[in-house]
């Protein structure tokens, strides 16, 4: 779609620009400042240049956490995006069924993240938790605090349970925005359900799916509270994701310089991959849209 050339449109954007910049720019500058200084106390700081960045980039435990993080976010996207779209397609389009589905979907999203972890601790306990007890009854010894594989599986279940509804809600709203005329045209052409999906629904959902992919990537890459509460990064370090490791450095050891350098590198990684996803989703299937 061609857009109108008009620089006065900036006036519509200015309020948004100011309210976001207010909270964004000064804290970012402060963190950049921390990352190049050694801070001993108020008023006692030494410029250290790129020392913290070098220290952080050479940290083996950080590399491990980074690979775990990529694996985690990759799995999250591969599972949640298709599952969310399927659920959205299954949901009724109108009537009380649609209302009920929307409310049910929203429930897991509304629980504060630290509480999610706490609820899942008890939900997965083999003695008094529903899931833990059910798995034990099936004859599988289940204890996610001892087995890294089980810890990962539990985390993935929690994550998919918690966040797939977000993808489904977005996809559903996107589907609802498709005019009825498109479906009628497809029906007249005798299109199958699959080609209706491929040529009408999927291209029309491109906008909401871009947001869903970016949101799920960013939030899963930055995930902290849920795994921290559920597994505490263990057993061993097997579920220590980047944020958990970052907090260990920033709060546990109170190394503000390295933690700031770490934060900036972390931020740049998220930025780079979000940008790549964004570009890819902007260009994919451009030919399919008439």
């Amino acid at each position: 779609m061609d857009k109108w050339e008009n620089n006065r449109a900036w006036f519509l954007v200015l309020p948004v620009f100011f309210i976001v910049a207010f909270s964004a720019i000064i804290p970012l500058m402060t963190v950049v400042n921390y990352s190049v200084q050694d801070i001993f106390g108020p008023g006692q700081r030494v410029f250290v240049g790129t020392e913290w960045f070098e220290e952080v980039l050479g940290d083996k435990r950080l590399h491990d956490a980074l690979w775990r993080q990529f694996l985690f976010s990759g799995l999250v996207l591969l599972i949640e995006i298709p599952l969310g779209v399927v659920i959205a397609l299954l949901m009724p389009k109108k009537g009380w069924g649609a209302s009920a589905s929307l409310v049910i979907l929203a429930l897991p999203l509304l629980i504060p993240w630290n509480v999610i972890g706490t609820i899942w601790i008890i939900f997965t306990r083999p003695d008094i938790g529903l899931l833990g007890a059910a798995i034990n009854t099936m004859g599988i010894a289940f204890d996610h605090t001892a087995s890294p594989i089980q810890a990962w599986i539990t985390l993935m279940f929690m994550e998919v349970w918690h966040w797939t509804p977000l993808v489904a809600l977005l996809a559903y709203a996107g589907l609802q925005a498709i005019p009825e005329a498109y479906y009628q045209a497809a029906k007249i052409d005798g299109a199958s359900a699959w080609s209706t999906f491929k040529y009408i629904q999927l291209p029309k959902m491109r906008g909401v799916l871009t947001i869903a992919v970016l949101l799920r990537f960013m939030d899963s890459f930055l995930i902290y509270a849920e795994p921290f509460v559920l597994t505490g990064g263990g057993p061993g370090n097997t579920t220590t994701f980047l944020s958990i490791y970052l907090v260990k450095i920033a709060v546990g050891q109170f190394d503000l310089g390295p933690a700031a350098a770490f934060s900036l590198i972390y931020f740049l990684i998220v930025l780079l991959f979000s940008w790549l996803f964004y570009q890819a989703l902007q260009n994919v299937g451009k030919g399919d849209v008439k």
Binding site: E5, A9, A173
Partner: protein, 267 residues
Amino acid sequence: MKIRKRTIALLIYFFLLMLPIYWMLNMSFRSNADILGYFALYPKDITFANYMRIFTDKAWYSGYLNSMIYVTINTLISLSLALPAAYAFSRYHFVGDGQIFFWLLTNRMAPAAVFLLPFFQLYSTFGLIDTHIAVALAHCLFNVPLAVWILEGFMSGVPKEIDETAYLDGYSFPRFFIRVFLPLIRSGVGVTAFFCFMFSWVELLIARTLTTTNAKPIAATMTRTVSAGGLDWGLLAAAGVLTIVPGALVIWFVRNHMAKGFALGRV
């Protein structure tokens, strides 16, 4: 037959989705000793003590009120600022549009831990610490960009001919925007309002950093209980159940907008 299969698949999914929430509900009606004592599919000695404690203890119920106040302010600010901006991004080309659009989203990408200290310093410089407006404003950092992005997606789905026709018919921009355009993207506005509400409601780190007592959010009250020597699971579960209620009401109110959506041809 095909319809039946779809419904069954959806019901199975919803059943699984509800299990952890059912477990929380189950625990909320049991005393702590009862929960830790034995496995029970449903509460055998139903107690409302957990809920009574939350409704009568000011430390608890004020947490809900605080959260509701700043979340409402934040949702209103986010929506009212994002609507015109999203329209600009979806309809016009202007200097730096692509860059600003992507920059907005980068504000969701920074790991919070290290940013909390400068955040606190910034807001105390303006004397805003422990006020609802501080949290509402701080949450704009991630909600306004999200709102702009979601709304832009929906607005770009509306053909530009609609704008052109309306302007030819003599509509002014504000009148066109409110009377013609907004009804067309109802599902987008509904889902955006819900997401702003939801992300502000569950955010803990920033809200906790910027508040002490007067605007302390419910999620922070709940962590305090967790760390107080041994967890009170029943109380926590009851508080968890109650955190779901306001958001469920919000989605109930916007559900019609989300379920109706776009009706081209009736314009």
